[in-house]
């Protein structure tokens, strides 16, 4: 899926990504194996059906990986994943978010929205396939900046002078 630059409100070091559970539909908890999240940049407002070609070359980054990911939330609550590697979003290009998982249990419903253009791409049958099916709807996503208070303490600032 792809988030447009005008929706991102400028540059950000993305520390967390969240999905909002879709009311009380489905299960309150789902588990997904070999779960990975990639982020990268795109110069296009729409996706093509080939996963790799949607990225600006060299920007696809593995930001989170776990052998088993549990998604759990109450109705309409947010499920947040803290990234292993914060992603430096530049505020200029569009942001591609790609998730991969292979096998698991339950259906964890989350909210999607109709974008009106090809901003969703999924392959539900073959994780190794380079292509997928395009959709005009995509997940509602929340991006939270990494807290950097410790990194930029007054002692650090003073040392700059």
């Amino acid at each position: 899926m792809i988030a447009l630059a005008e929706e991102m409100n400028g540059p950000m070091t993305i520390g967390d990504i969240s999905w909002q559970r879709g009311g009380s539909s489905g299960s309150a908890q789902g588990t997904y194996n070999s779960f990975k999240i990639y982020m990268g940049l795109s110069s296009s407002d729409e996706l093509t059906d080939t996963f790799e070609s949607n990225y600006i070359s060299g920007t696809r980054t593995l930001v989170y990986a776990t052998s088993s990911q549990t998604m759990t939330a109450g109705p309409d609550e947010w499920m947040t994943i803290i990234l292993d590697t914060p992603f430096q979003y530049n505020g200029t290009d569009n942001l591609v978010v790609e998730i991969q998982w292979a096998g698991g249990s339950n259906m964890f419903y989350t909210y999607m929205w109709e974008t009106g253009s090809n901003r969703g791409l999924m392959n539900k049958t073959n994780i190794g396939s380079p292509t997928g099916t395009l959709y005009t709807r995509m997940s509602e996503l929340m991006f939270t900046p990494e807290s950097s208070l410790q990194q930029y303490s007054f002692a650090y600032i003073k040392s700059l002078w």
Partner: protein, 68 residues
Amino acid sequence: MGMEPTRESGVVPLTISYLIGIKYRPNKKEVQMKGLLTMGLLMITASIAGAVTVGSPDIPSMDPFCAS
């Protein structure tokens, strides 16, 4: 023949005057402090900037977390 009012310098009065916006003539050292304060406040502001939500809660969907 009034005396010059005593002006206490240092980071505390500078910070107070800076935050409440009163007129204050800082000396050279205080100008540097003011620069530090500005940078610090800007960095703190940036670091606590809010989350961004893309999209809206329109369609509950089993995608992309459907493991039947």
